[in-house]
């Protein structure tokens, strides 16, 4: 029997989630024993239109060309996983979605804006095509990626971890940055998965794993107001790495 096939596609991003694979070390070579990697440009494998069993998609859709390309990726892939903040919610570059006149931004950076192909919005992959599974995080970890791929290779659906960071942090026995430290921690409304890194470093969570479902956002806002934060600062803090709430809708 031939090996299952895998592709890694990049859209607008910092390339950091691909490093979840490139930083795996020998585990990357092990992965290649179990799957045939057809397309992964940064690793040197170029076959963009290959039909594959699993596609990992990094980055958000920000150009007219990308809109076409993501549709081709979808039609060539049996199981499509979006990985990282950019692919799942439009990422930090979706801050331009919140601007009054994002089209003007090009003119403010580039002397000749007519040369630049850029849509007014940065969009999550699911805004254009059906996504089978999402890996949240900025960046995603090697463990998240290998768990999802290994589960699929064993014929099961990966499990979506909907726990909140706050619970992960409590279980790890960290001192609470919000209650004890009085810091504006976003742990109560953020997805788990990072290992509660920021609280372990004595700092408040800034929400890089994205908004958890069914979280008490208004309760946390009140609490942060109680710490003396003005509402606009709270708004900004809650919308940094995953700024555009419209992009985070259910698949």
């Amino acid at each position: 029997m031939s090996k299952p096939t895998l592709a890694v596609h990049k859209f607008s991003s910092c390339d950091g989630c691909q490093l979840a694979l490139l930083n795996m070390g020998e585990a990357l070579a092990d992965l290649a024993q179990h799957v045939e990697i057809k397309h992964f440009v940064e690793a040197g494998l170029v076959n963009e239109d290959a039909k594959v069993d699993i596609a990992l998609v990094e980055g958000s859709v920000v150009t007219a060309k990308d809109q076409q390309r993501i549709r081709r990726v979808r039609s060539n892939s049996r199981y499509l996983i979006s990985m990282g903040a950019c692919a799942t919610s439009g990422g930090i570059q979706a801050l331009k979605n919140l601007a009054d006149n994002p089209a003007d931004w090009i003119g403010q950076i580039y002397p000749q804006p007519e040369f630049i192909d850029s849509l007014d919005r940065s969009s999550a992959i699911k805004q254009y095509v059906e996504v089978d599974f999402e890996l949240w995080g900025c960046p995603v970890s090697s463990l998240q990626v290998s768990e999802a791929v290994a589960t699929l290779l064993n014929g099961a659906e990966p499990l979506d971890n909907q726990e909140k960071l706050c619970i992960e942090c409590k279980r790890a026995g960290k001192i609470c940055t919000l209650v004890t430290g009085g810091e504006p921690c976003l742990g109560p409304v953020t997805r788990a998965g990072c290992g509660a890194l920021c609280p372990a470093f004595g700092r408040a969570c800034y929400g890089c794993y994205g908004g958890a479902e069914l979280s008490n956002q208004s309760g946390l806002r009140k609490r942060l107001e109680g710490l003396g934060l003005p509402p606009e600062s709270i708004q900004k803090r809650m919308h940094l790495i995953h700024p555009d709430p419209q992009q985070q809708n259910e698949r």
Binding site: C14, A43, I116
Partner: protein
């Protein structure tokens, strides 16, 4: 001779970070036009930094590049701390350098093994290389892991680490954590030296070119701070950068081009070794002597050896820092001041300059960032013109493409910082 007009369009520059393309026009056997295009879509970081509090800057700028987030964080805090005149302790300064050592090790080892080496073994990827040279790849992964562990020690994770802040660090790691890390790094140093020796034995193209090297300089091998020098005698501070370096836009690129007093120039590992050779620790001078020391070098293909040597420099330095490591107060107190702050550092790929304007409340009102890849862009085009002509323009398109990629990869362009795959179009 009849004129050949061939047009090909091949997805091509793999093994770089980001999206790029190369367009060649060859008429009657001569190079008519050459454009190195960067078309990674812009992400507008400089715009959305505006209106943000200075404390958010390190987490925002890290997202410009997953491969060199530490470089972005350090250049940013350098700029803001110089404006606020934050009294950084020797411990904080040393830990900044240690964190940066981790990023050089990780990024350089990734570049040598995953991006550059497959070219020299006629392989597409590190996976093919691993079949031919399993021990080399295994050693490379172990060295890369040393870099990742160093960044995790001070930052929690190696991509978008969370430990750094304006004024210092959020936390000082324990002596026990340092000890465990030290043992792992000590095992890697002989491997890094063996890597440098092995890289020195690889047959490289001989391609000498004239160019100006630009790098930071200090008494130690410059990484996280220093004065800027070039090989023509220029010596300037952060705030004088804009008087000598200008950025312009060309129709074929989403990266702005940077020129130094009107000319192209080189930043990165080769430029650093060309200028800072004297700062190398004694054991590396001895090693290089034994290897027929090529530095200073005008052959850009020596950049792979330069990376291997730099891995030894920073691994050696990280070990000596960790041998006397004790936790200390992780950050310094300071007051916010309005004004403009300038900062730079040596990212793995070369000089990274930042400027921020801040108001009394600590809100960023303007930001400007000049990444290494846009600084090398003009030099890459100039290099390709020369090296492709020397290689032979009559060669088949496929060979031209492979050679172009090899040349471009010497610069380790990070096109996400400035993009992902190169398309080569040739018109003949």
């Amino acid at each position: 001779m009849t004129e050949r007009r061939i047009k090909i369009d091949v997805p091509s520059l793999a093994r770089v970070e980001g999206e790029g393309a190369l367009h060649l026009k060859i008429t009657e056997g001569a190079l008519d036009a050459l454009q190195f295009k960067i078309y990674e879509p812009p992400r507008f970081f400089e715009k959305f930094l505006e209106g943000r509090h200075y404390t958010e800057v390190p987490d925002i700028v890290a997202r410009i590049c997953g491969i060199c987030p530490v470089a972005y964080q350090v250049s940013a805090v350098n700029a803001l701390e110089s404006l606020f005149q934050a009294p950084l302790t020797p411990w904080i300064k040393q830990m900044r350098r240690l964190l940066y050592c981790g990023e050089w090790i990780q990024s350089h080892s990734l570049h040598i093994h995953l991006l550059a080496l497959p070219d020299y073994f006629s392989e597409e990827s590190v996976l093919g290389l691993a079949a031919k040279e399993p021990e080399v790849v295994k050693r490379g992964f172990a060295i890369q892991e040393a870099g990742n562990r160093l960044i995790r020690f001070l930052g929690g994770r190696s991509v978008h680490p969370v430990g750094l802040k304006v004024g210092g660090f959020h936390r000082a790691p324990s002596a026990e954590e340092a000890k465990e890390l030290l043992e792992f790094l000590q095992e890697r140093l002989p491997e890094a030296v063996a890597l440098a020796e092995w890289v020195a034995g690889i047959k490289l193209p001989e391609d000498e070119q004239e160019f100006v090297s630009v790098a930071l300089s200090t008494e130690q091998f410059a990484i996280e701070a220093g004065l800027l020098r070039n090989s023509q005698g220029l010596q300037i501070t952060e705030d004088q950068y804009e008087a000598h370096f200008t950025e312009s836009q060309s129709p074929h690129s989403t990266a702005l081009w940077s020129l130094m007093d009107g000319q192209d120039y080189l930043v990165g590992p080769l430029a650093r070794l060309n200028l800072n050779h004297d700062c190398l620790p004694a054991f590396l001078k001895t090693l290089l002597n034994r290897l027929g020391d090529p530095f200073p070098s005008r052959n850009m293909f020596h950049s792979m050896l330069a990376r291997a040597i730099e891995i030894c420099v920073v691994l050696h330095e990280a070990i000596s820092i960790l041998q006397s490591y004790q936790p200390d107060t992780p950050s310094a107190e300071f007051s916010v001041r309005a004004g403009a702050g300038f900062g730079w550092s040596e990212a793995p790929r070369g000089l990274l300059w930042h400027r921020y304007t801040v108001d009394e409340q600590g809100i960023i009102t303007a930001a400007k960032i000049v990444p290494p890849t846009s600084q090398n862009q003009a030099r890459i085009e100039r290099d390709l013109e020369k090296s492709l002509t020397a290689f032979g323009l009559d060669k088949a398109d496929e060979l031209l493409r492979l050679h172009s990629e090899k040349v471009v990869r010497n610069y380790d362009p990070c096109i996400s910082c400035a993009t992902h795959f190169l398309k080569l179009t040739t018109e003949r």
